[in-house]
């Protein structure tokens, strides 16, 4: 089964997929932006500033999802000794990091009209900043260390330490008294968000997920070609 993850087999798919994913991303993003900026209603309390939610929340969801995936791939790669898992994890990291920065910056911009401040050392915001630091350390490790075994070990340790922060981010609004509002959407219970706002939020989430898929495919192809370049040197 793990033969399916062999780079030679994957590349024939990943090399052709980006142009279709890019096209789909542009279509979904266009619909999402129209919904988020024009068609969705303003909030009775927050007025139009609520529209920031349509970029802030999907970015936060996806950065958390990507970090969890990176951790799972790194740990599995280390246990089952499949190097391609590390390559997939490495290719996911750039978009995860950018989504983390987007979540922090848009959250800060949203904070000004809502809380009257750009920044607060509140549990949710601080834990998201810590996640960005873990992303930074993970990406830097790949740049600093040349030895593959060493970089696999170090990046696995970073992700294992970083994943402890993920449930802290999720439950920080319940565990501590924070400026940040509690979750409005819950898979298991009824969400407190109206469908007129939930619909654009889900479309924007789909657009952001497509963008991270696009970046992942491009980065993964780049990494595979880099390996092949080294292979040509050895011929």
């Amino acid at each position: 089964m793990f033969k399916l993850f062999e780079p030679n087999k994957i590349f024939s798919i990943t090399s052709k997929a980006p142009k279709y994913v890019l096209l789909l991303f542009i279509i979904v993003l266009s619909v999402g932006l129209t919904e988020a900026l024009i068609l969705s209603p303003e909030d009775y309390k927050q007025s139009h500033s609520v529209r920031i939610m349509y970029v802030h929340v999907p970015a936060a969801w996806i950065t958390l999802g990507i970090f969890s995936a990176i951790t799972l791939l790194s740990v599995l790669g280390y246990i089952i000794k499949i190097k391609n898992f590390f390559l997939i994890a490495k290719s996911l990291a750039p978009s995860g990091f950018v989504f983390n920065i987007v979540a922090l910056v848009t959250g800060s911009i949203w904070g000004k009209p809502t809380w009257g401040t750009w920044w607060a050392w509140d549990a949710r915001i601080t834990s998201m900043l810590i996640l960005a630091l873990f992303y930074g350390m993970y990406l830097l490790s790949w740049r600093i260390y040349e030895n593959k075994e060493k970089v696999f070990k170090i990046t696995s340790i970073i992700t294992i330490l970083g994943i402890i922060n993920v449930p802290i981010i999720k439950y920080s609004v319940d565990w501590w008294n924070t400026l940040h509002q509690p979750a409005s959407i819950n898979i298991f219970t009824k969400s407190s968000i109206h469908t007129s706002m939930l619909f654009p939020l889900l479309i924007m989430t789909a657009a952001f997920a497509l963008f991270s898929l696009l970046i992942f495919l491009m980065k993964y192809n780049t990494e595979l070609i880099k390996i092949k370049n080294k292979g040509l040197d050895r011929l």
Binding site: F11, I52, V102, T106, I225
Partner: protein
């Protein structure tokens, strides 16, 4: 209508700057990753071009090498 979309009851500057920052971040990341991809691919093509016929034939036995050479689009 146009005024409402741009000014948004005074929240326009916050909303538009958030969306603009997000889209600019996406564009920057896409450009950076695409530059890296094109650079590695060009390096591969130039290295492949410098191989002698025997080595090129041996390298071409690998499907992935054939794929890299055949896929000439930028993304």
């Amino acid at each position: 209508m146009i005024n409402e979309i741009f000014l948004m009851n005074g929240y326009g500057v916050y909303v538009w700057s958030s969306f603009l920052f997000t889209l600019l971040s996406f564009l920057s990341l896409y450009v950076v990753i695409n530059i890296q991809y094109v650079k590695e691919k060009n390096k591969f093509i130039s290295k492949f071009g410098n191989l002698n016929s025997e080595r090129a034939a041996s390298a071409k036995l690998q499907n992935i090498n054939k794929e890299i050479l055949s896929n000439s689009s930028n993304i």
